[in-house]
Amino acid sequence: MELGPYILLATLEGAVTAAVLALTAVGLSLVFGVMRVVNIAHGEFFMLGAVIAWYVAHYMGGHPALGFVAALVLAPLLVGGLAVAADMTILKRIEYDPERTIVATIGLLYIIQQLTLMTYGPEARPVEPPFNERIALPWFEFGDDGLEFYYPWGLSTTSYKLAVIGAAAAVLAGVWAMMTRTKVGLLMRATQADREMALAFGIPVERVYAIVFGIGAGLAALAAVLIVPIQQAHYLMGADPLLLSFIVVIIGGLGSLPGTVVAAIIIGLSDGIISVFFSPTLAKILATLLVGLVLVFRPQGLFGTRAA
């Protein structure tokens, strides 16, 4: 394959990464923005979404689409419910103290990971996609008779991957609409702007926190259900999404949703292209150093305006 089609392919793969990453990172960003706490267990909520998707698809039987759709509904609900329970039993009792929340969510990370290992086991298991037609993509060339289109070998994507991108965009639009157009979103924004004042106006801040924590975890689970037919469900799969979400949230400006989406697209797309030129380990080293340095010198993020 020549370089042109190769980069197109890397971009398409990158777009799938970006779509899933955007969902996961928006969940993390929402929690940070409204509640001012960092949820280290976010990656484990992602992993739980994938594992639940496997269980649902496995026990549902019938057509793969049936199990997948059920997982798409059940996994975010179950994971969101678990997050709400964790919020009410743990985070609420430590009064959302930022440092103690980090320690508690590290504990939660270990608990979720080990319980998954003990029940689901160490295997990586696939979930069948609901539909998966291969779509060959054309590439152009200036030949003897001017512009020509042809189908290079290997340049293809699947209908499922395109659907993932579409679904992620739709969900993100939904989150945006919820934040800007609904009463719940208004309450969330009020709480984010000034917790004390929101309390004074009779907003049930603690209930808002529980809902936000649930939605954040649910978004991670949803992202995992979308990616699990492409990757596989594994009990350690939460580490990379957590790290990447962190990077995205920090680059995008802590707590800023549009910044997060833009950063997810940049990171997702460049991830594929960078790993063409560097070894994956070196790419990760550069990415983590970049995040550290951005936080040191531009704590408001590359796109943020407000100090974190």
Partner: protein, 314 residues
Amino acid sequence: MSVSARILVLHLGLLALLFVLQFVLPPYHHGNIARIMVLASYAIGYNILFGYTGLLSLGHALFFAAGMYGMGLTIQHAGFAPAPAILVGILAGAAVSAALALLALRTIGVAFMIVTLMFAQAGYLTVLYFGEYTRGDEGFVIQAAQRIVWGIDLSDATNRYFAAWALFAVSLIICLQVVRAPFGRTLVAIRENEERVRMLGYDTFAHKLSAMVLSGTIAAAAGAFYGLLFGYAGASFASVQYSILPLLWVLLGGAGTVLGPFVGTVFMFYLIDLSSGITTAHMLIAGVALVALTLFAPQGLVGEIKRRGAKWLP
């Protein structure tokens, strides 16, 4: 007995007790205690920054690993003798912690945690990247023949116990002296209210910088000793888990107490040791311990004792 005499008796008493235990412990616990004393030194270093200065670092594995690899790589590839290699490890830890401090101390709170986490992660990945020298996850063994210091064979259990005890004693006494000196008092004041300390004319940045370098250097010394005494250096010691463990030990024992790190390390070590007979998922216990601690005993074991009566504990 005056307070300072009481403090001296308690801490020197612990050191004397550990020294004597050497002769009565069965071999299995003998090895465990040696390991615990090295890990407790790591926790003591961590506690200086977290417990006394109030800076929660999630990147101390970087310092521990700097000590371990500073020692291990010079023995393995430069043919150093153990004593100068240990010194290289300690100096590496001091240099790395000073460099990270200059960057990370520009941030506060959650940003500080994430910056230390990210740089430690970059350090861990760097160890993996130079797998040719570090042998990555697999790690490398430091042969018994390379572990003889001034004719003392450190692979021997008794000598190993004494070396671990010496490291622990030095760390404990440094910590005790530092926190009772004006410098340590200023660190506590910074933890409680940095603005006010700055207003009183103290250079808080210089104090935090010194605290982080001292903390990182003790962590590196523990890393270097750990590698040398137990004859192994591997990438897992640079991973996030080894940044979280000292936090766990310190929280369990009591942040901002001199004895807390030791008590926490003993408690956690034996909790995992005893429970591994029942379940293999020891991280589950660590997780439950972390959550329970933040909920029910944010002061830790020694912290609770201090709160309930023994206010004189340093």
